[in-house]
Symmetry: C2
């Protein structure tokens, strides 16, 4: 069926896993449909459908048949090269299988109930800006997270277990080390920038035509290399990327009339994810090696295309005249330099999803620190709002105007997603490492971008990163490409050089 199988045991495993992957993808198709085209009345039935598919996918994946096939396939490979596709398929499937079977189904059901109620309560609490109304739900979720950790072998740090769900093999110590380096220098950079005169981006706060903006974004992502024969773009309320294997990868976008950057950079961001998915080796289709290595590595791709490429001056040297042509009334009197500075405006804001490249990590950092403290038991839910607000002042120099714009702003905790936030920052950091590694081999990147040519970059990412899918864990992947560990230095240098110049 795929190039990853060879022994009969591996074939048997591939056939069982293929079925479970099909069910998961089917649920993904239905969830894409729900968010893009489904008529409103269809929601309840579609909800039941996707719940059934997810349950059956889980049942198939955690069945004793898969367990047996893993044993047999593992035994057949004993002593062989552990890095072949066949061996790695067994290793990765084994890792996922162990994780999936360690958690009792009673716990999974209870967590689903708690999260469902918590998400509802969070929505109401946020609308009323009332943290107290959400607190009991959050307390229950924290309890469950602490309990979840106990299902796994003792780790160096209990938070490792949570992190591992999104970043296989990543340790709390790694994340802390990255943040410790980032914290001082990034807080300092933002403070220095804030002291300088603000840049003007008024020309980005006027109405732009949707159709013309979408056409422009399609021109950009086609140049990036998004393959429309193996993907499509639609509209949805929240932009996302989903894939049903590397040959059908879909992104969505959102239009905000008086803020064109939302569509522009949102599209580049999702395209970064999509290019990764479209680049995964076809031999991994319907195996546990398809998809990206981790959320952080995935985010490295979206951030690389959105920020390092899409917010760079060489990129706009090529594309700004084209954008001006489409929007003469808004942009004909704006210079490239004004535009470049406008799209890189830094603001010390309260809300993460509105944060710019220079401040984003500070928002993430405070969340991850609070999560670690909660898991360690150093703080409780009742301490959260105060801890949040004091860190906001310390890192960003702002105080949330209310709970809705503070501790209640994100959906993640109500959804039970602990360990997730760190992946955003890891993505930024890895993106800069990849860009540096690429430039070391291809010094002409800026020249390429000035010509609108991204083929060398994409092809390098394809062969060094994309094609491997989930074969390697994040740290292993970074080591293979950069020869080192996950290191925030290139990112800090990139930020400092760029923003001290923008705010020169």
């Amino acid at each position: 069926m795929t190039g990853t199988t060879s022994s009969p045991a591996s074939e048997r495993l591939a056939s069982l896993i293929g079925e479970s992957v099909d069910l998961r993808h089917a649920a993904d198709v239905i969830e894409w449909d729900e968010r893009v085209y489904m008529p409103p009345g269809g929601a309840p039935v579609d909800g039941e459908m996707s719940a059934t598919l997810r349950r059956l996918a889980h049942e198939k994946f955690t069945s004793s048949a898969v367990g047996d096939a893993l044993e047999t396939a593992g035994a057949a490979l004993a002593g062989a090269d552990p890095d072949t596709d066949e061996a790695r398929t067994v290793t990765v499937t084994r890792r996922d299988f162990d994780k999936a079977t360690r958690v009792p189904s009673d716990f999974v059901a209870e967590q689903a109930r708690v999260v469902s109620a918590a998400q509802h309560a969070w929505g109401e609490a946020r609308a009323a800006s009332n943290f107290a109304a959400f607190k009991p739900h959050l307390e229950r979720i924290i309890e469950l997270k602490r309990q979840y950790v106990t299902f796994f072998p003792a780790a160096d740090h209990p938070y490792d277990v949570l992190l591992d769900d999104y970043e296989p093999g990543m340790k709390t110590a790694d994340v802390k080390a990255v943040f410790d380096t980032l914290r001082t220098r990034q807080v300092d950079l933002v403070r220095r920038v804030a002291e300088r005169p603000q840049v003007n981006d008024g020309f980005l706060r006027v109405p732009y035509d949707e159709k013309a903006l979408i056409d422009f974004s399609v021109e950009v992502i086609s140049a990036f290399g998004f393959d429309f024969a193996r993907g499509r773009q639609d509209k949805s309320i929240h932009p996302f990327c989903t894939s049903f294997g590397s040959d059908d990868v879909r992104i969505t976008t959102r239009f905000v009339e008086t803020y064109p950057l939302s569509l522009l950079f949102g599209t580049m961001h999702e395209t970064g994810h999509a290019l990764y998915e479209q680049g995964v080796g076809p031999r991994y289709q319907r195996t546990m090696l398809e998809g990206g290595a981790s959320l952080g590595v995935h985010e490295s791709q979206s951030r690389l295309w959105e920020n390092i490429v899409g917010r760079s001056r060489p990129f706009w040297e090529h594309f700004f005249p084209r954008l001006q042509q489409r929007f003469p009334s808004q942009l004909s009197k704006v210079t490239l330099e004004q535009f470049y500075r406008g799209i890189n405006r830094v603001e010390r804001s309260q809300v993460r999803v509105e944060a710019d490249e220079a401040t984003y990590n500070l928002h993430v950092m405070l969340r991850v620190e609070l999560e670690i403290a909660l898991v360690e038991g150093r703080i409780e839910a009742s301490d959260l709002e105060e801890a949040w607000d004091s860190r906001m002042r310390e890192y960003l120099g702002v105080t949330p105007s209310n709970s809705a714009k503070g501790v209640l702003q994100d959906i993640h905790w109500s959804a039970g997603l602990f360990g997730y936030f760190a992946t955003y920052t890891l993505g930024n950091v890895i993106a800069a490492q990849l860009a540096r590694a690429f430039r070391a081999q291809h010094s002409s990147l800026d020249e390429d971008m000035r010509r609108g040519d991204f083929s060398a970059l994409l092809s390098w990412l394809r062969s060094n990163l994309h094609q491997h899918g989930r074969k390697f864990e994040p740290r292993e992947l970074v080591a293979r490409i950069t020869g080192g560990t996950i290191d925030p230095e290139p990112y800090l240098e990139y930020l400092e050089e760029k923003y001290l110049a923008v705010y020169a």
Copy 2:
């Protein structure tokens, strides 16, 4: 979960069946997606996904767990009213279960292989207009159909078994009786019409704007009562209707620039199907009672809205001025009478899918007669082309210009669909019976249509037909509504009155 369940045994059955329905609907969503939005590269993966879903849906439905639940639920209902929703759910599920479990899975697999090869060969044979190239495949399919019949208890006629897959409870004798009445009078009607001067429809053979035509068709189907909160309309190469339960029903349409009727009547046709699906009782969702009673009853709805309503004069008294407004250059000089006659032009053509209302049944009749003769063994595949051509001359007075426009024109036989064609004619016949029954209670139908008001008709169809889903078999349903059997008389009278006037 639904209003149809009450005893614990019925609840258990409902839960098992609900899961299998979810899987089937998921496959339906994926197949809708394939035909409407999927990027071309996604085809192979989507194909595997939907094959897995169909296989699992079948496995779930035919499992011993369902067999046991049917036994228990049936026993719990012994002696109770057999017509309650609960009892009928068990009866219909039992009927489907028995049919699905009688056919050995080896046979199903073999048939799938044969059909797959046959469809490919049919496509090539049709392109080359070479029946001989398709004949060996057809022979194998005929063998399989004869074998299929042997898996079931002896019926009055072997063709009954095939018919029953599309028209539960319908007998070959019923179909023959309908066709015997239709044949003479409809052949005669078409001959009389052909002797009169042809009507002019030149104004329908010029370019029409797609957007304006779609807007108009949306106006029409909104007036019919299509609920866009529980459905949607998209474009596809071949128009179709699909539903994932009554709250998510989707139709597609096709635009042919120089033949606006294709989009107009195609949309009304699919809307007829959709109104049926949207009207099925919500209590039947995720049970075997959801959906339509049979293909024939389904077709009665599409034909009723497309032909009896959509090709009527009163309908166009309301809508023609509106159409003229949208297309002044094409229609401002056309009178209502000219338009009405133009859309009801009769032509003795070779190809079924291009046939008009007056000739359609004759195309169907010859196919059904040939299928019956094949199943009886009175003819073989090698006799088919000659038998086809001679009937075409007899019924329609035309000789196919080649095999592609004759015996090879339809996909059905290559797909193993024997017993299917009759449902088109049954649909026409039942549609006319329903219209007559409705007019007997609501003499103002024409007046309603002149005002663009279809609410009384839809509401009558909802309460007499739609809401029952698959609870009653087609003959039972017709008896409940009309007090009689499936009777071609109303249809013949409708046709004769209408077409002798159009061609007066």
